[in-house]
């Protein structure tokens, strides 16, 4: 009974996604009806998916997104954890100011920085490269913040004990701190991966060849308001296709976060 309540709640929550999936299997005239019509009336209508695979190089785009999101998330975890390590286990001058700078970066709206960052990236000669697509995603104030929070609750005495054993600070970070904080690392990785996978404007701006396009661009390629387009069904089909990898990453790693193997991601 309890489980049924949980699952029904879940279905209500993902109704919008089910809706999108259903639409992606409907022909145009079925979408256009004014009558209530939730499920496709026939099974196996695949035209919308054909449009997606025929008119965009979606697999190539998805590969690009995968490289961009995967690599930048790993780099981000390393950079953020190092910074968080410094903030939570050391005492030094200027620490509070530096941390305030990290927190402050969270409220600098990324959209506003886009044009200026384009100039920087262009000066570095990174237009049309994977590195150019990724470099702005290497850093995230929020990730440093959440990791610091997590490390803070990690016993300082443990670090002192390991020092007595002759363990250097970096070794402590590498051998003890990181392995015992897998849940938070996974959380940061997932949120970073999903966030980067889902960005649209930046990769579109710094790349201008078809070979470098990302998955999100495929959706807009099909959803052009002016002039002709392929219809709502194709757009939803594209949305469903590019949803698959991010949901997959999610499902694979999600157990790590909430699997209860190790206690506490952002620990209470």
């Amino acid at each position: 009974m309890y489980q049924i309540v949980c699952i029904v709640t879940g279905i209500v929550l993902i109704l919008p996604i089910i809706y999108a999936i259903n639409i992606s299997f409907m022909p145009q005239d079925e979408i256009l009806t004014t009558k209530l019509h939730f499920f496709p009336s026939q099974l196996g209508y695949l035209e919308n998916y054909k449009v997606v695979f025929m008119h965009t190089r979606i697999l190539r785009f998805m590969w690009n997104s995968l490289v961009m999101a995967g690599v930048s998330s790993i780099v981000r975890v390393i950079i953020a954890s190092l910074a968080a390590f410094s903030f939570s286990f050391f005492e030094y001058r200027g620490k509070n100011v530096l941390f305030a700078l990290v927190v402050g970066s969270m409220i600098i709206p990324a959209d506003v920085l886009v044009v200026q960052n384009y100039f920087t990236t262009a000066e570095l000669g990174l237009i049309n490269t994977y590195l150019g697509m990724m470099v702005v995603f290497f850093i995230s104030g929020i990730n440093i913040f959440v990791m610091r929070q997590n490390f803070l609750s990690y016993s300082v005495t443990l670090k002192e004990a390991s020092q007595v054993d002759g363990c250097t600070n970096f070794k402590f970070y590498r051998k003890i701190l990181m392995p015992s904080n897998i849940p938070v690392i996974t959380t940061v990785f997932i949120s970073s991966f999903v966030g980067t996978w889902n960005t649209y404007l930046w990769p579109l701006l710094v790349t201008n060849t078809d070979a470098m396009r990302t998955a999100q661009v495929a959706v807009t390629m099909l959803n052009n308001n002016e002039g002709s387009n392929y219809g709502v069904g194709a757009v939803m089909a594209a949305a469903v296709v590019i949803l698959v990898p991010s949901v997959a990453v999610f499902l694979i790693f999600q157990r790590k976060i909430v699997g209860g193997v190790m206690a506490g991601a952002v620990k209470g």
Binding site: Q3, A83, Y92, F145, S153, L243
Partner: protein
């Protein structure tokens, strides 16, 4: 020998800074430098190529603050913050409490609850654009209404807030769930033995224990809501070419986008950005005060 200890000491002093180098290098390059440049330029008159023409003092700020549309956008943004932030945290928390107990089907509904996190803003926008569409959309069909949800000034902001809450819930849920699961069962059990139940247990034991998570989500959601523009830009800009209808969905950042990127009027955009940043900083400071008083790291 002496040199070695000196070296060691020096290393000890610089070591914590070394770990910060990559983070700060990138922060400076891609966040603070461009932001500082924007801020400096807000005191100048710049042309459409973002080239400085002359010193303008605070003229740009006076102009923006005199624009009733900008004032309206500040109001909308605050409404956005005080609705989306608490509601999406409370809903996320409720779901996390519901899912806390592990059952056979846990992984199924955990995935469902957190799914909204996996979908890009533009796809979320497209799905809801269709759902809210007055003639084709499922919403009117289900409720038998005939409302143009996204283009009627009475409902547009509400619809966008609803979408934002849906989009936030997954993220909040997953963080809160791991917070709850991380709670020590012993503490819970002993509290229960002491006769703590229901709301009391929640207020006195559970909430304090997940307070770091709550604080983090509060900070993140406020930061996000203060700087948000996505749904306005995707859903109402194509129809009204501003945060319409009648400016009801204009946020501070969509105003900036409209002036700067769309209109190439960077004078207004830069000044509005700085003001938006200051307002967001005040909100963040308020929630940090909360950290000092309420958050429990033990």
């Amino acid at each position: 020998m002496k040199g070695k200890t000196f070296g060691k000491k020096l290393f000890q002093t610089v070591e914590p800074y070394l770990y910060l180098i990559p983070a700060f290098l990138l922060l400076i390059m891609f966040a603070y430098y461009p932001f500082a440049k924007n801020t400096v330029m807000s005191f100048f008159t710049v042309n459409k190529f973002r080239e400085i023409r002359e010193f303008a003092g605070i003229t740009n700020y006076l102009k923006v603050l005199g624009d009733e549309k900008f004032i309206q956008s500040i109001g909308n943004t605050l409404v956005f913050v005080v609705t989306t932030v608490p509601v999406s945290i409370v809903v996320g928390f409720g779901l996390a409490l519901l899912a806390r107990k592990r059952t056979k089907s846990s992984s199924v509904y955990e995935a469902m609850y957190s799914m909204s996190m996996a979908i890009s803003v533009s796809v979320v926008a497209m799905i809801f654009q269709l759902a809210f569409n007055p003639s084709m959309g499922i919403v009117n069909k289900i409720f038998g209404t005939n409302i143009s949800w996204l283009t009627d000034p009475k409902t547009a902001l509400g619809a966008i807030i609803f979408i934002q809450i849906w989009a936030n819930v997954g993220y909040n849920f997953i963080f809160l769930l791991s917070g709850l699961r991380g709670m020590s069962e012993d503490v819970l059990e002993s509290a229960k033995i002491d006769g703590a139940t229901g709301i009391h247990l929640l207020g006195k034991i559970i909430i304090p224990m997940v307070s770091p998570t709550l604080l983090f989500l509060l900070m993140k959601d406020i930061a996000y809501a203060m700087t948000t523009s996505s749904f306005t830009l995707i859903l109402t800009y194509p129809v009204f070419h501003n945060g319409g209808p009648n400016g009801t969905t204009e946020t501070i950042m969509s105003y900036v986008y409209g002036k700067g990127i769309v209109g190439t009027n960077y004078n207004a955009a830069f000044a509005a950005t700085t003001i938006g940043f200051i307002l967001a900083a005040v909100m963040m400071a308020l929630s940090l005060v909360l950290e000092k008083r309420k958050v429990n790291y033990d």
